[in-house]
Assembly symmetry: C3
Homo-oligomer: 468 residues x 3
């Protein structure tokens, strides 16, 4: 990992704050933050998500939005708000045998209120277990169909004796609001990068406290920089959240040039990146390039319309270039949507790596420009500029080779990523070569035209430039 | 095979007549029809092909055309008409040792008349055998060079004793006509689908009674439907037949949007499809898709200018999207052009499968439309329409997944075949999803523009619509 | 090899002079010429390259150019001219232990003059050896940084005793000229084919006497023909040579339609072809096609901006379709840039093969035209023209198949190379078919438009036509 970290650090011209820190310490800080968020009983509406956003606000100046129940959002309607104070099952002996206070997964999320006494046979249809994993509690929801229920381990259910059970779900399902958080970081350009993660799952760590914490830390790092792009971070309930945001921000959505959904990025699995519907968007090429160069094994998945919130961003009316970054793919690991997706399932090292990868992605986004060779006829004489041979060594040779590639392909058409892909060199090596050649007066940057608009000077932030 | 048949049946929305029958019974009926046609001594002109067309007319209202000898057709000329009553060789003992009445392959097809007595040494240059298959009689022709000859088994030839042989070929080669049959089924559109098969081979079953019978039955099935496309079936002599038809129908040929040459589709070999010269025509993609999804093994062959009548349809002046469907490829199996290509070499099961595949091809052609998602912004809420989750099970999951794909790619640009190919689902699953979504008011059909013209209402047939 | 030679000979419609000779004899003649050039101490300027060009002038009417020191050529400046009369090191005993007269590699190429006596310790920093190959003398240069030095075997250096050494380099580095040779063969068209090779290396055989000799002989062969293209041969110092030529011939460079850099083509390695920056230029496709069809093993390398003089021709301002033909790739074989790259390292057989390949490339360039089928509707009746079936045999079958391909794809769009690639046949078979069909009145040549201009008749040469 040392080598990887070094390579990563090298690429992070922008994220110097991260460069200078101990990756393990960052990982532990990420994990600690996940630990603070873990106990909260979140759902797609209600106080759980509100409380979560408040805790994120301690780190980044998140703006929160409350959208009333009943609001029409495209083909959907904002549902009633759900809140819960307590829930339990008391056995025939009067003892609490299932207790929401011990684990919020015990309640079928969005359960309607219930207070009743019933025989085991009447209770059983309301109990959910995982026979294949008899010690784990499943996570189940019923957002759009009113119902109530309890989730418990299969072994616990098998041990239930006949008799009368007292059932209590002290919840409310009423007119209220859907809550989401948004953090907008203006850059020099109006073109936007979207980072989106769902914040609706209760005590589940990988899905998606991992996404929430990494997104929060990434936002913190970016907030210290003066960037080319504007960045927009969204923390919202799954499905209904992005639908609501998109319905309220149709114009803004048109400025999104690149985007990532972050989910399940804290476990020990290798990275997986699911491409956007466009399939060859710049974000798709960037993440593929970095995974290929920085990790020994990773997997690029073709787009499919089933998944997390990229489903909405990639719907045909929007068709935004938004991919989904994961470690293990949701739905494919046994711990998914069970009590085993706990704080031990995510690890500091993996969280830190995910943050580093996100930082590297941002770096490439910020640095991927087109240049023009100012001496396009034959090679410029690098030797007299001290940019050619040195006393040898493999690494330096690659650096010189990278300079030749940048000069050869910088005809105003090829981006640095194009050059990296054609040459087989890493983006960071190519970018380094471009900066040296530019400093040497051999390259000029090609102004971007058409696709981006520039934000008026006064709005942009001071500090160090990401790009210059 | 049960599974295959089920899958096939599923796809055959149009060909309900076929759906409801027992495949083995259909196969036996096909084989029986081949058996009726088998004894006739066909050639590229003459009474054999006339008699064949009359027997096909008992099943479909085929129109026949007679083109006079000497008619110029592009670079060719319609040849003299050939007919034969009898032919034999009598040995030194006066006994018939080769007898046309027993097998019409015994005569070199298009032999000029002959009555002579000659020693074995003079006869031998006129005898054709297959040394590698000493019990089989070869099939040989001499259409464009006047000659006479006999075909016999190699063993029989080896057994010939020296002596005088009496040779008789009671044939005529005179001014006459070239005969072909055409069956045109008007659809709602003037755009045409061509099904072409050569009808000039004498007692050879796979090449091409298999093509003749399957084409005839397909025409019967289609005649009961109201189709989008117009269908044109041609039964004609090889090479000179399509050249003659194309020369007489240059304008009509411009309406052919898709086409298939059917040959050698009754034996036990796996399916082979040879692509059109265009290489990525809709017919090429459809047949490739179906073979990949419906058969465990099959092979797609690139276009080459050598072959059967696709040679003419795919000549550069026409460049029609016409491929060639085969089981074993002509010229590659030992029975090809020998007496071993008999009624045992083709089987009811294989004939029925070939008919089913043709039916499935027609179904995809008829159903492959583009749709537009009427809720393109974010996903529509399938749950409240009862189109999303059900109580589980793999098959249903695939159906829902297919719905998501159809909604996601139905932007008016992608056809259902495009969606099937990108999603990896079968066309039938994608089409089913599209129909359900359309019934649910979530999709509309995109009107086809430009490439097709619509036939005036009164010309089209009533009955049930293929497409609606 | 006999088969290869036969195939090659077949393709060489133009180069009949080569066809009729014994390949080994040609190889020996090439090797003899290399042997004559071998002893000369060449450098990027000076009398060594002048003397080399004079010897080439005995075979082809090369024009030489002298460009004064100090001339600005794009980002570079023509350097001072270097000449050397003698150089040696005398040991403590007064005996010459390193002697330029025995091997000109002993002197660091471009060494400044030196006459001095010094202890071993002072001499050592000026000595270059190859520790891994202790018996070989390395080849080193210092063109653009003034320095002096000696190259010797590692074993010889290890044997040096302490003591005083007398050092003499009797060289001059003064105002003078850069010399290069150019041979222009006008064709019927102003469109040009460039053959370029560097002529600056001293006693090194593969790099690049192999290129010089093959280019010279190719020019000789072409000078006897009347060609479609104009051919331009350049013999120049590496890097600064093509930069100088391009700076002085910017307009002419625009006429270069195809080009090859020839280097390291005399050793026993398999052929390697490095594609041009364009990557799919006609020259790239032609060389790839020929290597695939004519040699059992060879390798096509993607373009990279590091290499020999294709670096300059493929700089983005020119982006000429110039590839680089090699046997072993420079820099990858141990003998590269050492005294082991001597006359034994190149062989008559390999030199002759390289010349044959170059001839075959020229043949395809000259013959690769587009034709139009004059009977595009259906196939023409080849049989009545005696162009169809013959008495059989595999080779003839392929010839007929090639005719069908040419007829099918000759729609005015596909070149013969396109047809060869799609059909899988060799270019020579396809070209042969085209010529037969053309003679039969079935094809016409498509006039080339736009991309080429025709040279006024009187300028072109008489003799036999390459193309007609």
């Amino acid at each position: 990992m040392t080598e990887l970290t070094q390579t990563l650090n090298k690429t992070m011209g922008l994220l110097k704050g991260l460069d200078q820190k101990d990756p393990l310490a960052i990982g532990q800080e990420l994990h600690r933050f996940a630990g603070e968020l873990y106990p909260i009983c979140r759902s797609i509406t209600g106080n759980g998500i509100r409380q979560t956003l408040v805790m994120i606000q301690k780190r980044i100046p998140l703006q929160t939005f409350e959208v009333p129940t009943g609001t029409a959002v495209f083909d959907w309607t904002v549902p009633k708000e759900w809140n819960i104070r307590d829930a339990y099952i008391k056995g025939p002996g009067g003892k609490k045998i299932v207790d929401f206070q011990k684990c919020n997964l015990h309640v079928l999320n969005y359960s309607t209120p219930v207070r009743a006494t019933m025989p085991l046979s009447a209770l059983k249809p309301h109990l959910f277990t995982i026979p294949e994993k008899p010690d784990w509690i499943p996570y189940r929801t019923s957002y759009y169909k009113e119902d109530w229920g309890f989730c418990l381990s299969h072994n616990q259910m098998l041990a239930l004796q006949d008799g009368e059970y007292e059932v209590c779900i002290d919840s409310t399902l009423d007119q209220g609001h859907l809550t989401y958080g948004e953090y907008f970081l203006p850059g020099r350009s109006n073109d936007e990068v979207l980072i989106s993660c769902h914040a609706c799952h209760p005590s589940l760590a990988n899905d998606n406290l991992s996404g929430l914490t990494v997104a929060t830390f990434l936002a913190q790092l970016l907030s210290e920089k003066d960037c080319h792009y504007s960045y927009r971070f969204l923390f919202l309930p799954g499905t209904i959240g992005p639908i609501t945001w998109l319905a309220r921000n149709r114009d803004t959505a048109r400025s999104i040039r690149h985007g990532l959904v972050l989910t399940c990025i804290g476990d020990k699995g290798q990275f997986h990146y699911k491409k956007s519907r466009q399939g060859n968007a710049e974000i798709d090429r960037i993440v593929s390039h970095l995974l290929r160069h920085l990790w020994e094994s990773s997997e690029i998945l073709e787009f499919s319309p089933y998944g997390y919130d990229e489903r909405q961003y990639c719907s045909p009316g929007f068709n935004l270039p938004v991919g989904c970054l994961m470690r293990s793919v949701w739905g494919t690991f046994p711990e998914y949507h069970t009590s085993a997706d706990d704080l031990n399932f995510i690890q500091p090292k993996q969280l830190a790596e995910s943050l580093s990868l996100c930082a590297a992605i941002v770096d490439v986004l910020e640095q991927n420009r087109r240049y023009r060779n100012l001496n396009p006829f034959c090679e410029p004489q690098l030797g007299r500029r001290n940019l050619y041979r040195s006393t040898g060594g493999g690494a330096i040779e690659a650096e010189i080779n990278a300079r030749l590639w940048v000069l050869n392909l910088s005809d105003g058409e090829h981006s640095l990523l194009d050059i990296a892909e054609r040459s087989g060199h890493s983006f960071s090596l190519i970018n380094e070569a471009a900066q040296i050649l530019r400093e040497g007066g051999l390259l000029e940057i090609v102004p971007e035209t058409g696709k981006e608009t520039t934000r008026p000077q006064e709005e942009s932030k001071a500090a160090h430039s990401c790009r210059d």
